[in-house]
Amino acid sequence: MKKLNVFIFSLFLSFSAMAQNWDSVVIVAGTFGTIISSQYAVYQSLIKRELKGWANKETGTSVKLENQCGIQTEFHLIGDYKRNYIMMAVSNHSGKQVALNFRQVKFTINGDRVRYPGYSYQVADEMVNDGWWVLANIPLPMKDEFASYEHLKVEIPIFTTGSKESCTIVTEFKRSARYPNEDVSFNYFEFMFDTGPSLTQTGNVDRLGDPNIIWGMDFNWYFSAMHGVGMAFQWESDFTSNGSIFSGDFHYVYRRFLTPKFSFNFEPGVGYQTLVQDYNNCYRCNQNLSSTLMVDYRLMFNYVLGTWNMADVEIMNFFIGAGVVHQYGFSGETNGSRLGLLFRLGMGF
């Protein structure tokens, strides 16, 4: 069935391409890409990875078992696509009910710095009855901050029924290695508005007149820290009242962070473009205007202006960027090469 579905999609895509029905190609390929990328995003969000840099050399894991305050606990440093946290298992066979006071968890970092994650809305006290086994999460500070940690001591106060005094469970983790991109989130979406002046043009497109401005939208999705895929739509106008060129592409994205806020993007893509006429002063009235296959790339430098954080998790960031876009159309009125400057306003989440 899976192969049949892929076959039908591919057949539809091929027929559309052969008929040069580029609108259908974009719709079918876009649907296909959206389904695959959304499925992969769901899959990524389900996957929890152990933080390799904190693996104990003897066991090859970060797991710490503790038998304190009459209960058994297991601590595990985990990261998903966007945040790091402690996954904690609690097994209570003490004969009493215990309450883990997660709001008062104390982190001691690198020996002397103290942080409390208790303000987070994600943290609640956990009541564990006798005989129960539960899993809980304690959120860690954001990835970029956590990447600077070498040593982490965790203290969790617990209360037991019948006792006024709290008891504190203590465990410690020590960094054993450092890996690249520990501070970078993946499974990350970007939405951008681009605009800028047209610079140069060659080929048939010269006959259309001099373009003066580019504007468009760009969507990227990063499936790893440095690699992603995306779509971009762009209009280039005004060809002295002859209309504008519309371009749409599917592209690969290579992203490299030069500093935590400053990144370089390279977006090579393939797509199609067509001339959109100005019907008040048309260029070739009553004649068909052909669409053409196009290749393009964008070279952009992005800078993060600020982030919106909630409970130690980055919800959204806002960035600006600047760079160039270069397109090449293979036939028709838009055959030839065009280069433009782009300025970017974007948000990532």
Binding site: F9, I36, Q39, W133
Partner: protein
């Protein structure tokens, strides 16, 4: 088109790996045991046999050290007992002393025979001897594993 999209989503979702065991954290007489490292997709088939890898974390919570001998580790499946080759993660030894408050990781490898033509899931039990205790873990073999 909508039907095609739904079909594709449904078919993609079957790629998610099956759950073979539940996380457990439990206490024996002298040890704490956990199976946090059950890798659900780590299952290979070879010449009519299914290869299983199972990871366990063990901590000695007794006041004194204990001698561990992993040679009699096994997996019970379909009313048969198959041997498992268990050893410490780093040292690769099967016999060692576990000191008070010390923890270690045990990696077990085993083979079970495929049941030809089976359409059922099977529950197997992994047994690891820990001095006077035996650590037991459930492990689910899916009907698809026998295909």
């Amino acid at each position: 088109m909508k039907l095609l999209c739904l079909l594709l989503i449904a078919s993609c979702s079957s790629y998610f790996p099956p759950i073979r065991g539940q996380y457990t954290l439990s206490t024996l007489k002298h040890f704490m045991i956990s199976n946090m490292y059950v890798n659900p997709s780590n299952l290979l088939k070879e010449n009519g046999q299914i290869l299983i890898q199972y990871d366990v974390i063990v901590k000695n919570i007794d006041q004194k050290p204990h001698k561990i001998n992993l040679k009699d580790s096994s997996i019970r499946f379909n009313e048969k007992k198959f041997p498992m080759n268990c050893s410490r993660f780093l040292q690769k030894d099967q016999q060692f002393d576990l000191k008070n408050e010390e923890q270690t990781r045990i990696v077990c490898l085993g083979k079970v025979e495929k049941i030809q033509g089976s359409k059922s899931d099977y529950r197997s039990i992994i047994e690891i001897p820990l001095d006077q205790d035996i650590a037991k873990f459930d492990y689910l073999l899916r009907a698809e594993d026998f295909e």
